[in-house]
Symmetry: C2
Subunit: 430 residues, 2 copies
Amino acid sequence: MTETRQPHVVVLGAGFGGLEFCKHFRHPRAHVTLVDRTNHHLFQPLLYQVATAGLSAPEIAQPVRAILSDHPHITSLLDKVVDFDLANRRVLLEENTLTYDYLVLALGSRTGYFGHPEWEQFAPGLKTLDDALQIRSRVLLAFEKAETTLAAAGDESLMTFVVVGGGPTGVELAGALAELTRTVLRRDFRRIDPSRARIILIEGSPYVLSHFPTDLAQSATEQLKRLGVQVRTSTRVKDIRRGEVELDNGEVIRAENILWAAGVSANPLTKKLGVELDKAGRIKVAPDLSLPGHPEVFAIGDMALVMNPDGRQVPGVSPAAMQMGRHVARLISDELDLGPNRSPRPRFVYWDKGTMATIGRSAGVAMIGKLKMTGFPAWLAWLLVHLIFLIGFRNKIAVLIQWAYSYFAFKRSARLITYLPPDPATNNHD
Amino acid sequence: MTETRQPHVVVLGAGFGGLEFCKHFRHPRAHVTLVDRTNHHLFQPLLYQVATAGLSAPEIAQPVRAILSDHPHITSLLDKVVDFDLANRRVLLEENTLTYDYLVLALGSRTGYFGHPEWEQFAPGLKTLDDALQIRSRVLLAFEKAETTLAAAGDESLMTFVVVGGGPTGVELAGALAELTRTVLRRDFRRIDPSRARIILIEGSPYVLSHFPTDLAQSATEQLKRLGVQVRTSTRVKDIRRGEVELDNGEVIRAENILWAAGVSANPLTKKLGVELDKAGRIKVAPDLSLPGHPEVFAIGDMALVMNPDGRQVPGVSPAAMQMGRHVARLISDELDLGPNRSPRPRFVYWDKGTMATIGRSAGVAMIGKLKMTGFPAWLAWLLVHLIFLIGFRNKIAVLIQWAYSYFAFKRSARLITYLPPDPATNNHD
């Protein structure tokens, strides 16, 4: 690249990694184009609260261009990536073709079904706002159907919820569903008793939250059971059909709502890059996060398989994606200043600030350094951390009020059944 | 009906009229069944704020069964009315058949297209939450397309918005769209200038808000123009096609977004009752709001054509529907106490507390008794009245914060493009 031309940095994806890059990359000469297929940045860690009627969609999502309003060197485009032309440094979008000097891949992950894509229609995952709004409608509709439909009397499957996968998302979903049925909905029905709903959490390994130390994982299982969740560990799913989950022990559970929280895989676009991928489709990046053979292309967040110097894999969590975004922002900015004579690039090192998961009202587990917490303190720590990192001043206030309201009033404010697209897996409600 | 059996009151529709009936009807012996095809009561006067990204859906809608949680004598059913059997005092629903002693019809109105139902696909109306969420997505998407699509350069129609109908909904929509483009979106785009968007309001009569006195209607027109809305009065729509409005003077306006706020008609189920209807499908009720020949059936709200003693028609506004709901609640309760020996029933009289409409930031018109207001005082009065009547303590606080945020920060918090169903009238965005 020459000095006379404005260097162009293209960022694909406005999740935690891509957005953090954009916020920290400021270079007097460079221009940035940020591409996302939605118009909003999503605070994914709170998505399960939209799915369980605790928060409204706008409270956890903000328009990308509003976040970057004060960054005149960034152009934000609503467009979809179609293909890459790495040799000619071009990205092909549906509506545009962009030529770059640097490319930052931050397209995140998708729900993965372990080679069973046909399960998706019967067991939706939770990755986008639309996913969350549809799950919310379907969960609430199950209770409405049980109350309204005389034919449903005695049909236990309407009030049975199966959550597949005992990672943070599955645990949070199961806990929130238990609370919804045990407290929020309890007094609002006349013919059915929502507190008798069954919430079944299925996990293949011996513990839920298996990335935590065993004592914390055990505590999480206990806390879930206390909330009324049936926890089935060391249990795998053999098949999922319409309204039915078949387990590896042959048992069949009939459930109107089956929610999938068991696996993620990198955005399938990684397959178009012609570089080495791991089993989950993640790019095996160099220590500086660049693509092998393409020092001008970087992959960050859930798209990248990154190893820490200690040989442990960097987890697919938002703090890691954000640290990667800052690392690449600094690296590109330095390189633009120093010119093409490359000094050895710094390697990325993940700094683990701690891990936490909420389970429900006053329940959770957290590990910050050597400090382990369970129950109320863990829940409070989770609350504070998520409020601090939630983007946008107004959103923080609004979410704080919602949470205070839910906590003290035992109510949820977003119990709306709105648009349900026609779906073969569910009765259409028009 | 005999003393030994529990009298059954069936209420169809959980809008302002039906809900107000339920809240005020308390009789020691009677049981009430409330039927609605959605699970929420909608605060329709604020629907245009959801459509223009100012408020989130849960802020203006509450689950019906949560509102009636403390009324154990009321059963709430999510079901759809299919037909009536007035002779046998039965209502046929999709999932249930209900036998009643008293029936309260409160099914409201629909968007009416003056005999042109084919216009609906090109010019959506604003009656339900789904309508509002779709309009929000389409309006925001137009700007995204203008910014993203190189082919759209110079295509004025993407940033042209036509609102058909200069009643309160049309005026509020046009004003809110003008504000959205002039203030909120102004700094967020790089290739287009949203403040150059054209907002065109079309009204057949010589003034907008023609139910107000002429001086107020004139003021409303002036205030709209000051916000940047092109107001075309004494202008009628001849035809609506995909992305095009043809006016009666032959002019054709190309616009990606055409919004319909020109007409309402009563719920078409009124046709199944076998009673006399007016042109808009409303039931010509007796002075006590009962159906002629069916003293046990009442129609309230937008379904009913009601004349005040002075010969003027009661307007189709929420205070009128609520007053009718209370009137019928009192009437049935008294009659259950006094038994079958009917004294002459009291007639319904509408008490007009005033009329107001907001136009935009610090703009509006209001008439309370003989007192007329325009501009900031009218806007402030509108704000207070709508906050007071908004159902639900938490919603009031949340809406107040949103409004304060929008007013002082010139921002809107619900700028989300979410699920857009496939529609022949729009490019599908998946």
